[in-house]
Symmetry: C2
Subunit: 177 residues, 2 copies
Amino acid sequence: MQYKPKNINTKKEIQSPLLSKNSSMTNSQNQNQQIQQLRTLITDIDSAMLTTVDDDGSLHSRPMSIFSDIDTDGILWFFTFANSHKVLEIERYQQVNVSFSSLNQQRYVSISGTAELVRDRNKLQEKWQPKLQTWFHQGVDEPNIALLKVNINKADYWESPSSFSPQTIRLLELSHR
Amino acid sequence: MQYKPKNINTKKEIQSPLLSKNSSMTNSQNQNQQIQQLRTLITDIDSAMLTTVDDDGSLHSRPMSIFSDIDTDGILWFFTFANSHKVLEIERYQQVNVSFSSLNQQRYVSISGTAELVRDRNKLQEKWQPKLQTWFHQGVDEPNIALLKVNINKADYWESPSSFSPQTIRLLELSHR
């Protein structure tokens, strides 16, 4: 059975799929608000499951640590190794899902987007955080270190502080890339 | 960055993809052990994220309550409404992923499988549990009530009671359907 929030905020914030980032100040403000709302939703959830499609069409997921906020362009960044299997998968099929689950808070977020590999050194340095040393001992000089850039297209979320009901809120519908 | 278990049990239990359910007692026993292992992994995680592929190729996930064990054939069952969007999605594209996250226990499970809709009344009654009344007020007589049958093909899991390392254990490689 699917979890669904009962006492929901029925306000729906759906932006036009044709919205460009600078189409108007209002749209830009809306987008900023939506990104801020999404950031708030995933606050305190420090890992996510990234789902990709494999060569044979099967769907795989794996836990990913969250080390940075969603940036102002609605992009989620993960550090990775460029030769990992998930990178092969996204090179063949760009669509991914990033899901966040907080059982304690009964909050669930599904982010749909496209992923691409970024190896730009400036970007690696910009996104680097000391905690990452656990996996990348040589920091940004680690062989095969790379970033997985997830361009967020849509986010759905479910919150149920007290109960459930058959409603879903769509949070973002961006086409900023 | 991807979570990876450091102090892992390095035992790998991979069954032949050609294994049929009754090919031998040994294989059957292995399969039972693997299913039992998978059951143990998801014990105490009472919700999962189900990821499906939409018509436009994008990946969506949504939280699902777990009300029954994985059965002896390696099948995971969810109650659903036959007219829900995810059912439309699996009718077009059967491959799904079911992910379990336990942040407290630092345990993550990814189940890859194929999904199909089951409306058989006997099966509905067999799998029915009183807790489901919250969503299906009329029980198995609820209009559009159905089961989502997920045939598990593979499960990966990550456990890190103390730390992480670059290893993954594959749990199941079944081809019993």
